[in-house]
């Protein structure tokens, strides 16, 4: 693998991003970016889960997953076609799409989404991602979560596989599913995310 993950993280995490004075907007990576407190995103997700009865937890989690999954698909495409990607990552890419996938997870880490990496990859079939530190696990600051609570990482993992091995953008969305199998927020050492083909899965989010 030609991807220098640490260099990507070092370079992209140092970008000094702030809203421009005229509009207060941050156009970057082919999208508009915000840099908000992680508590905002976590609190919204937890409030939604707590607002519904237990029989609707699966459905509420699916809504959060879908938001991240669609975001991950379009933003992921924006990232790998951006000027920032071309400047930092593209010169390292030798094997397509595997190097692109590894590079995308390095960007994922540099953005502050999770300290995450691919630990297993069967091209076109299956991917396992581990996250050793991620902001979604901060929900356990209020006590251990009753369920895994990283729908953002889960949705983005399957979206990145869609981009790598699905039909060309924008027609490959939802080729893959992802299930969070471990979580720091439920007491595990790390979060684990297993991506498989969508039609291979008897799919549920919460065990």
């Amino acid at each position: 693998m030609a991807i220098d993950r640490q260099k990507i993280i070092d370079d992209l995490s140092k970008l000094s991003i702030k809203g421009n004075n005229e509009e207060g907007l941050i156009p970057s990576f082919n999208v508009l970016i915000t840099q908000l407190p992680t508590e905002f995103w976590n609190k919204f997700a937890v409030k939604i889960m707590e607002a519904v009865s237990p029989d609707l937890h699966e459905a509420a989690w699916a809504l959060l997953y879908n938001a991240a999954n669609e975001c991950g698909y379009h933003t992921g495409y924006g990232i790998i076609t951006s000027e920032e990607w071309k400047a930092v990552v593209e010169t390292m890419v030798e094997e397509i799409p595997e190097d692109i996938l590894h590079g995308a997870f390095a960007v994922f880490t540099a953005w502050g989404w999770a300290k995450a990496e691919i630990v297993e990859l069967t091209p076109g079939e299956r991917m396992v991602v581990r996250a050793y530190d991620y902001y979604e696990s901060d929900v356990n600051e209020q006590g251990k979560s009753p369920y895994v609570m990283a729908p953002m990482i889960t949705g983005v993992c399957s979206a990145f596989m869609d981009l790598a091995y699905g039909k060309p953008y924008p027609n490959g969305h939802r080729t893959f599913n992802c299930k969070q199998t471990k979580g720091i927020e439920i007491g595990d050492e790390y979060g684990e995310f297993v991506v498989t083909k969508a039609d291979d899965s008897d799919f549920t989010f919460l065990s």
Partner: protein, 175 residues
């Protein structure tokens, strides 16, 4: 002369976390904010998504603004207004202009808005406003500026970029 906002940015390489003024922060894109907003709009019978998103915003930003004012000795209304406008722009959420402000309420405008621009990029215009995050932030702004408890103000978006208005306008009233 209004005070300039201080933003101390740190990337903790050991945890791969970004901190802005010691607050854990993360970059997300307009797809994510738009999809969370859509989730709030479409929640239907499952939950009151509008209120949850509004409250989440107010509860998140209120302590951040209060801490900033206290830690940096920002005491006058004029300076506090300047800081909250700068903070909103710094986060990439748009350009906020507090037009009128008294303890009883006021008005605010956003000629540029991340939520509205993102929504329009994804789905185009719609009839009703969608900036629930902005409403929550403005409620936090008024409460923190006047050292009142969270939940002291009601904010209504009366004009909206997403609804084809030139700018978004917010009416603020003390509850």
């Amino acid at each position: 002369m209004a005070k300039e906002m201080i933003a101390e940015r740190i990337f903790d390489a050991s945890r791969c976390r970004h901190y802005i003024n010691e607050v854990t922060s993360v970059m997300h894109c307009h797809h994510y904010a738009s999809l969370y907003t859509q989730l709030a709009v479409d929640a239907g019978d499952m939950f009151d998504g509008h209120k949850i998103l509004n409250d989440t915003s107010e509860e998140t930003f209120y302590p951040i603004l209060k801490d900033y004012f206290n830690n940096n000795k920002i005491t006058t209304v004029e300076d506090r207004v300047s800081i909250v406008e700068q903070y909103w722009a710094f986060t990439g959420m748009g350009k906020l202009i507090i037009k009128e402000i008294t303890p009883k309420g006021g008005t605010a405008e956003m000629p540029f808005s991340h939520v509205d621009s993102g929504w329009i990029k994804k789905w185009g215009h719609r009839e009703k406003p969608v900036n629930f995050i902005g409403c929550g932030y403005i409620a936090a702004v008024f409460a923190s500026i006047f050292d009142l408890p969270i939940g002291s103000y009601q904010v209504i978006e009366t004009q909206s970029i997403v609804a084809n208005n030139e700018k978004s306008v917010f009416s603020i009233e003390k509850k």
